[in-house]
Amino acid sequence: MRRLWRAGWACVALGCTPGSDAVTDTDTDTDVVDTDVVDTDTDVDTDAVDTDVVDTDLVMGTPVDAGTERSIGVALEGVFAGLTTFDNEPVELAWAAMRDRRILGCNVYTPGDTIRLEGSCSAPDGRRTIGQLERTYTGIVDVDGVSDALRLRGRDFANGRLSQGWATEAVTGRELYFFGMFYLADDDGTVGRINGTFDHVVVSAPSLSARRLFLGGPVEARDAGPTTWSGRGLVPQDLEIVAFSDAEGGVLQVSGSVGGLGGTYDTFTATNGAITRGMACDTEPAGTWSVRRRADAHWFDVVFNPERACDGCGRVMDAGAVVGTVCVTVPQLDTRWAEDP
């Protein structure tokens, strides 16, 4: 099993198709080692760069100082630690706030399992509303329905474990889906606001479970507590977190962005990001994790590739040029991070 997990790593990190062991390498720098570094800066200290991953065609930039490397590392560790705080709660609270204030009397449609609000109207008590929003709640009880409703088609984990589980076990699950934009304010400010696509799916079978949380845009809810991601001012943009776990371990796949982070770096973007438990290299994330320095809107991309060296370190890139190395400590993954929708 461990070998399978190891092979499955490539799929986790690089997004291969279900049922295939082939590694689809989206990083064009792979498989060539270190013979011909393109150095555009004569002062570059190549020792500062993650030496096990130097490729041809790499452009060396002006190295960042050690303090910057450390601060990037700290920022990323904060990002990793905060991933499990993202859930559907603020979305539901925003929805509930608007529903409870009876603004639904303006334009409400209820086709099937969907509730749809439409229009730009004023509630009877004078509160202002604007927008259009759909909320759909779907129960999943059959395998075929799972594959569609989960919106997980095209994914797999751990060398086919997910699809194998679905194919052989009874699967149940639920999906809660919002789409649109609705905004309600009163004299004290925003009551609730939902803007974008929001999707939360949970499925489980006896031997495994999988979840998908998609937060397409900003959410505000007055009733959201200060510890929720919304209450902390975090702003997701097309943030997708997909988790899979079974008895052997688990994977958290991350893509998309979150703004509103405190500290030196105010935004992160994950591209094919992943953190694992019970796999070949749990001490290093996979994928590219980018952070934006607040002071000057400067982006640094940190490229991790545990396939090459499981050392917890990634290459720091600045506008395509290598400028340093960052090493991080990855928290132990808790894939029980979300409740049922």
Binding site: M181, Y183, N195, G217, V235, D238, S290, A297
Partner: protein, 574 residues
Amino acid sequence: MRRGGIARSVGVVLAWGCLLGCTRATDTDADDTDTDTDTPVETDSDTTVDTDDTTGPVLPDYQPLDAIDLLVRASLDLRGIRPSIDDLGRVEADPAVVETLIAAYLEDDRVGRRVREMWDEVFLVRDEETFVTLDYFRQRHSLAELARSIGEEPTRMLERIVVEDRPYTEFVTADWTVVNDVLADMWPVDYPAGAQGWQTAHYTDGRPAAGVLSTNGLWWQAGSMLNNLNRGRANEVSRTLLCFDYLNTEIDFTGVGALDSEAALGNAIRTDPACTACHNTLDPLASHFFGFFYYDAQKRDPLDVRVYHPERERLWQTLGGLPPAFHRVPTQGLADLGRTIAADPDYSHCFAKRAWEGLLHRDVLPAERTLIDGHDAAFRAGSLRVRAVLRDIVASDAYRNGGPEYGRKLASPTILSSEVEDLTGFSWTTDDWDLVRAPVTGFGPLVGGVDGIYRSVRLDEPSTTMVLVQKRLAEAAASWVTTHDIVERVETPKLLRIADGSEDPDTATGEQRIRNQIAALHARIVSERVDPAGATVDEELSLFRDVLDQTGRPHEAWAAIVTLLLRDPRLVVF
């Protein structure tokens, strides 16, 4: 109305064509493609091919304008108003004084407003249809307030740069903006509490400092659909600031596969030379603007569109864009782009070209392109202060041309509006819209107004609709000013400073005062001296008597005279 009056009115209209030069050559050789600057389009080689033949095109036969006409032209172009009677008298006494007056006009703060108005026609954003949805904000402000305020933010920044003699580089690097109380009510800016009107302020949402490139005003107007991925915005930046319009680039689709699906289109954009020629530079430029990117629902969310979105800056990655770059050199985001553009030679050259076109109210002819190089050099020598390049252009033979070709030009709607307001105090508005300028509620496109929707090319020949709008404007302004000056008998009349309505034209004293007033109106409104005892005044006195006989109301008789003069073609051709 006697025949003389009718004949005069008809003559006003018939005089139109020849004022612009009956012998003007056709404009078919005019360059309206903005392709004279170095092209960012990728070709097999990096050289720019000069297709001009060996002899090259010939400059028009510039002939000097006389001093009075030059005075009028400079006053309207630089201040938006006609010269005072005093200025007129000084130049009549000594034509050389016109240079002193032009130098003074260049230092006038109204130059800032004029540059703003000229760049309204460059940015094409001062229209009534914004990209973002304003429904929510209309609960607090009228559509006219919103559209005008939003559209003016970019050019108000430019106005400040002119008035305060700041370097033009700040237009794309500044950490400040200029907003009014309407915008401050919507946007995250440190607008002074309790203030009114346009003030310098800063965005407080941490957006990158990139001058106009960081303004809501620009991007609320110039939007991008989801699949467009900011390419339209990138072209706006290229077109307005660098004078390269990708949409004017010829594309040879020969050999391009069928573009019958989204995927096929996306593939062609990245692989087919016919497409990559533009997209390899356009798309990296577009990738800078995702902090202002809105999905369809988001552009209807008032809280979403008001702030900058750092969390969207990297959407180009997932939506199929290319990494941010300018002319193939990678950049580090919007602020870096602003600095890079500011250092690009095309940036100042383009401004010089735009200023030339704005002042001469026409496109640069192929033969005149070298003139722009000279004005750009003057601009740079003047540390990119806008007045430096304006001064250089206004001193040029091309600007001072009074010859048969390109010796006259049409006033823009903004000049027509401001000169009439200055003469009469009358502003033609409804629901806060300036009717001379507004493209939908008003008559802007009918008068040659350029807004990018109803007109994209400036009018350079008189049109029937222009004459009609001028007529209605003249009638309304004349009625307003004569009521103001005579009926209300204000302390400081705007126009009628000799006659006060009590004059009896059948007495020698009364007739003389009326004659003197008519002559003074000629000087003030059309900047010409007429003999109070001459034929022109005879004719207009006759009209005055007719109207007075029929109505018995002196202010209506004066309104007829003022209308006649405000309809003079010289108010819009100069």
